[in-house]
């Protein structure tokens, strides 16, 4: 028998052979296929769940970021700053010369021609105080601030207005002269009180946004004071020069 024939015979016999597998074999295959199936399903489920959670986190972060930016706007445009700046920057610009003159006159012990050096001024200042505080409490102008805590702030501003008016009236009665500086200091103190009160929440904790606003305001205020002082000095120099020339 040649090699080829022998191997051919082996091939035929082995290829025709069949061995019956055990009864359990199919169950093992079936369970093996079942194991593979849920794995795919699990991956899909985990993928969907992860996607959903991711979307949720992104949306929460997005909306939180939006809220944060609103709060930042509140801090930047906080009403006390505006009202005070209006009072400190714009009003003095127009009335600055007159007020400084008045101050100067009072310092030098000069009386006005009409003989009522103090009576008009307090009334005017009281009106300006009222206007300034009314501006603060105006909901149209400072609508963002009102969003945070409308009623307690209104109450506080109202209280402060009455307090300032009472103080102005008292000073008006007692003191011979009520200067702008005194009224300004009263206003600023009231403003500070309002801002400090705004810092504290109902539960006693400190409002971070309001605190930041206050710090920014203080920084801004010191800068404004510097400019105010420089303007004042410059103006006095000019005024003295003009007075000397006239003399």
């Amino acid at each position: 028998m040649t090699l080829h024939n022998f191997e051919k015979q082996i091939k035929e016999k082995l290829r025709q052979r069949e061995i019956r597998p055990s009864e359990d074999a199919w169950h093992q295959i079936s369970s093996g296929l079942e194991k593979g199936k849920p794995r795919r399903m699990n991956y899909l489920r985990y993928g969907i769940a992860a996607g959903f959670i991711g979307m949720l986190i992104i949306s929460v972060l997005y909306f939180k970021a939006e809220d944060g930016s609103e709060k930042e706007v509140q801090i930047v445009n906080s009403p006390p700053e505006k009202s005070v700046s209006n009072r400190a920057d714009h009003v003095p610009e127009e009335e600055f010369i007159a007020n400084t003159n008045k101050e100067h006159d009072l310092k030098n012990g000069e009386a006005r021609d009409d003989g009522k050096p103090t009576k008009e001024r307090p009334q005017h200042l009281v009106n300006s105080v009222k206007q300034a505080v009314d501006k603060e409490s105006n909901p149209e102008v400072f609508s963002t601030k009102v969003k945070v805590s409308q009623r307690p702030l209104d109450q506080l501003i109202g209280y402060k207005v009455t307090e300032i008016i009472a103080q102005v009236n008292l000073l008006e009665k007692d003191a011979a002269a009520l200067t702008d500086a005194e009224v300004d200091s009263l206003l600023r103190r009231a403003q500070r009180d309002i801002l400090t009160a705004d810092l504290l929440k109902v539960d006693g904790s400190v409002d971070a946004a309001a605190l930041l606003g206050e710090v920014e305001d203080e920084l801004d205020q010191s800068f404004r004071d510097q400019i105010f002082e420089k303007l004042k000095t410059g103006f006095e120099k000019v005024r003295t020069a003009v007075a000397d020339r006239n003399n």
Partner: protein, 196 residues
């Protein structure tokens, strides 16, 4: 009669194709039918490589799991049985490699022609299997792949990650061992006949 036979073959083929399509979709009954049809032959294939029947069955089981999971890869270009058989062969080789049964020696082989004795024509399949089982794993793999499965040396070399020369060497040595065993069998057969 011939027409009936022809129709039967066509219907079987169509059934097999339909079964394959259903099994591809994950239809468990179709998968079981395909398994029932091919499992005995595939266990025989695995048994050619793996001496222990239990291990051979394990190889067949993991092979069928791969078959059903990878049915989408079957293009219906060749026979389904051939495709399944290839998977089983690869699975058996992988099993032997994992168990580190296979050792290929690189010794050169002679060129002398081998011829089996005439008595070997009476060999039954169990004895053939026994002869193959007794071969060293490396020889056995190459011999079965070459002589039974019909792979070429280049293909065997690629499958087993060996050189073609090693494949040829393994085959030569396997044949020589088989020849010696058959010669011994022949001699013992002759002596038995004389005694009778």
């Amino acid at each position: 009669m011939k027409r009936f036979k022809h129709l039967k073959i066509i219907s079987l083929y169509k059934n097999e194709k339909a079964l394959i399509y259903k099994a591809t979709e994950g239809h468990r009954e179709a998968q079981q039918r395909l398994y029932d049809r091919f499992a005995p032959k595939m266990l025989s294939v695995c048994r050619q490589y793996v001496k222990d029947l239990q291990f051979a069955e394990d190889v067949m089981i993991s092979g069928f799991v791969k078959v059903f999971r990878g049915l989408e890869a079957f293009r219906h270009e060749g026979s389904f049985e051939g495709w399944v058989r290839k998977i089983m062969v690869r699975e058996a080789i992988s099993f032997l490699r994992k168990k580190q049964f296979v050792v290929f020696d690189e010794q050169e082989f002679g060129d002398s022609a081998l011829s089996y004795s005439e008595t070997s024509s009476d060999l039954d399949v169990e004895y053939i299997q026994h002869l193959i089982d007794d071969l060293p794993e490396g020889y056995k793999l190459v011999f079965v792949l070459f002589a039974v499965e019909g792979y070429k040396h280049a293909e065997i070399a690629q499958m087993l990650e060996i050189s073609e020369n090693t494949s040829k060497s393994q085959l030569f040595k396997a044949r020589r061992i088989l020849q010696e065993k058959i010669n011994r069998l022949e001699m013992s057969g002759n002596s038995n006949a004389r005694q009778n």
